[in-house]
């Protein structure tokens, strides 16, 4: 009786009711393109701490392959590559945040699997990196093949496809193994570096990058086996086809640009002078492709202008200006690789 015998009491009750009604009024159908345009900023989920893909450089900026994809999509949608917000999350949180709709797109390197695509509230867009899981061991163990690792201890990070791949590989080869699973890739690498595990396993591009940063890189070797396919693709929330189309075709444009020789430097020249109808349509000189997916006619031009074509993004982050890794399967189909963009027709 003592409590709330006053105006404040009534106010509490009333404000609670009003707040509930207020929240109710904001229920709206998901239209992510409109939301992003209204907010004026593209919200990307990234997982920091992976050199080459997404990490904080010395100047305090997020850089890497994943971040460049985010810039490209931001440029396509909003016309300005700087209008992005990179939300840094741990891997399971990124997964949940995507489902819950906290971010517009996750450009972190998530492997496209059946279990993640079907019934999880997520959609994968298109494969941007073809990778595969490998093993790193110390040379002094004298191991030459992954099949000799029966009884070994593996270090890897939790929540990735890594755990399942090792389990499958062990089951297929009748091997037993011990696992130490860490919350992040950094910890598992540090533990391996300290000698906690016999084997450090993750995607091969990641392994290559991380071998160079061991205390003594020459002590370690990467085994020849590739135990899995890791097609890596940005994700969007399930159930918004328009938004998914935008992301898919922006990524396609980056690859098509490389195929047609468009770079961030010659793009103006190409737009004005190229006779190739594919290029003309893609860069918005002819046709209305931009309008058809709800964007301006410069969408692909803006994306490529901002970050360059696929090859440029690769070289800047993973290739010769970054981690120095070979492109492997990640070259154009014309050069024997797996990258192919559906035609802009």
């Amino acid at each position: 009786m003592k409590f709330l015998n006053s105006k404040i009491g009534r106010l509490t009750v009333m404000s609670a009711a009003i707040a509930s009604l207020g929240i109710m009024a904001t229920v709206a159908k998901a239209d992510r393109l409109a939301d992003v345009k209204k907010a004026g900023v593209l919200h990307c989920g990234v997982v920091p701490g992976l050199p080459g893909y997404g990490f904080i450089n010395k100047e305090g900026k997020m850089v890497g392959f994943d971040i460049d994809l985010c810039h490209a999509i931001g440029a396509a949608v909003l016309g300005d590559a700087k209008k992005i917000k990179t939300t840094k999350m741990s891997l399971p949180v990124a997964f949940n945040a995507m489902k819950a709709g906290s971010v517009d797109v996750v450009t972190h390197r998530f492997t496209w699997t059946f279990g993640r695509d079907v019934g999880t509230g997520l959609d994968f867009t298109r494969v941007m990196v073809f990778d595969g899981q490998g093993f790193m061991v110390r040379k002094k163990l004298g191991v030459t093949s992954g099949k000799q690792l029966d009884g070994a201890t593996f270090c890897f990070s939790s929540g990735a496809t890594t755990e399942g791949n090792v389990a499958d590989f062990a089951a297929a080869n009748g091997m037993k193994y011990k696992a130490v699973t860490f919350g992040s890739m950094g910890e598992s690498q540090k533990a391996y570096n300290a000698g906690r595990c016999d084997v450090f396993t993750t995607d091969k591009f990641g392994l290559g990058a991380r071998r160079t940063s061991m205390t003594n890189p020459s002590e370690h070797m990467i085994l020849p086996e590739t135990i899995s396919n890791e097609p890596i693709s940005p994700m969007v929330p399930h159930g918004d086809q328009v938004w998914k189309d935008i992301v898919v075709w922006t990524l396609n444009a980056l690859i098509a640009a490389e195929e047609h020789g468009i770079t961030s430097k010659n793009i103006d020249d190409m737009r004005d002078n190229s006779k190739n109808p594919f290029v003309q349509r893609m860069l918005g000189k002819t046709g209305k492709f931009g309008n058809k997916i709800g964007l301006g006619k410069d969408w692909a031009y803006n994306a490529i202008k901002a970050v360059g074509n696929y090859g440029e993004i690769w070289e800047r982050n993973l290739g010769k200006d970054g981690l120095g890794m070979p492109r492997g399967k990640n070259t154009l189909h014309t050069k024997g690789g797996l990258l192919i963009s559906p035609p802009f027709r």
Partner: protein, 387 residues
């Protein structure tokens, strides 16, 4: 406001109105949240339900007291990691209390250096974030432990290296059930003796060394049974395989680092709690105990500690709760606890986010509730009559 609204002046009416208002607002809020979640899940095409618990887990767990393999179900994974959480909490709680007792003794010591060291210890470990301490200890431990091929050998039965401490495990053969029963009986006997001794002392004043006898019983009885049954136990001794020792059981560095970190961190708090409790007992009590001829140890056991307990129990309960909750940080250094399993592997492999969150919340609330209840019962039996 007269006439029609005069009932409003009555306090009881208003209070009823406010209370029902709250009930209404709350149920509306809850309904609303659930409804939103339902709509969102529908939009995303996620099906709810606990069916995923029987699916194959597909990830390995580094420490399990039950049989577990990657082919086990998600439910098994939850049980195993929940057990890991409990094991860590209980052992760390015991260690922290034990160590905290020494910290309190040091802080109360007449020796200046010891007292100051105790103070420095408390200030350092209490004031640095636990997560930072865990990282530090884990990587410090890995740095100090020897390589697998230079293991420290303990009599050819146990070994210490960077993968942890490998020791033999007993393998129980037929007839070994009797050992477990004998341990149980010894425990019951010890408790009975303790009750009897307390009663006798209250009635006649004659003391009885119940603790010593009890501990003796718990060790002696199973040993006698073992001897009578001609030792139906063999040992699984670790042997060096291709990469490391196999067989036996391993105390892993992740577990040890967690234990170390939690013990040091919490013992600083527990030490302060115990110290405050002991200081709260009136000086006259100590002097009176001395004057009736009780020794220093007797004074502590019979006079100071029972009174101090009254003040110690509530903050100690809080500390145990904090300890149990902070085991959720274990995943950061690779110890396979409940939160690690659910928030790591399961979250990305299943779509049942909400169900997983519910499992986590219920588990930890259960642990907290259990600790609070046990401590409340203990408090009830140790409180001073009439106070």
């Amino acid at each position: 406001m007269t006439g029609l609204f005069s009932f409003w002046r009555k306090g009881s009416v208003r209070s009823l109105f406010y209370q029902w208002g709250l009930v209404f607002a709350l149920s509306f809020g809850i309904f609303f949240v659930i409804n939103t979640a339902k709509e969102n899940l529908e939009r995303l095409g996620i099906k709810t339900g606990f069916g995923f618990l029987s699916d194959e887990a597909g990830f390995a767990i580094s420490q399990s007291i039950f049989d577990y393999s990657t082919a086990s179900s998600n439910w098994d994974a939850i049980v195993v990691t929940f057990a890991n959480t409990i094991i860590l909490s209980v052992i760390a709680g015991l260690f922290a209390t034990f160590f905290g007792f020494f910290v309190a003794m040091a802080r109360l010591s007449g020796n200046f250096l010891l007292r100051k060291s105790g103070e420095v210890y408390v200030e350092i470990f209490r004031n640095i974030p636990l997560l930072l301490q865990l990282f530090f200890w884990y990587f410090a431990a890995l740095k100090m432990l020897p390589d697998k091929r230079q293991s420290v050998n303990f009599f050819d039965v146990a070994y210490l290296n960077i993968e942890g401490f490998m020791s033999p495990t007993p393998v129980f053969e037929a007839g070994s059930d009797a050992i477990f029963w004998s341990i149980l009986i010894a425990f019951l006997l010890a408790i009975t003796i303790w009750f009897w001794a307390t009663r006798r002392q209250t009635n006649t004043g004659e003391p009885f060394p119940a603790l010593t006898v009890g501990i003796g019983l718990i060790f002696a009885l199973p040993l006698i049974v073992l001897w009578l049954l001609d030792f139906p136990v063999t040992w699984d001794i670790p042997k060096f395989g291709r990469f490391n020792f196999e067989g036996g059981m391993a105390l892993q560095p992740e577990f040890v680092a967690m234990l170390f970190g939690l013990t040091l961190y919490n013992s600083a708090f527990i030490g302060e709690i115990l110290r405050a409790g002991i200081l709260s007992v009136d000086k006259g009590q100590r002097e009176a105990a001395g004057s009736i001829g009780l020794s220093q140890i007797q004074t502590y056991r019979k006079i100071i500690v029972p009174q101090a307990m009254r003040l110690i129990i509530p903050p100690l309960t809080n500390q145990y709760l904090n300890l149990a909750k902070s085991t959720a940080l274990a995943g950061a250094i690779g110890y396979a606890d409940l939160f690690w399993a659910v928030n790591g592997a399961m979250t990305t492999q299943t779509s049942q986010t909400i169900e997983l969150q519910a499992i986590i919340l219920v588990s930890y609330l259960g642990i907290s509730f259990f600790i609070a209840t046990v401590m409340a019962i203990y408090n009830y039996y140790t409180k001073i009559p009439g106070k």
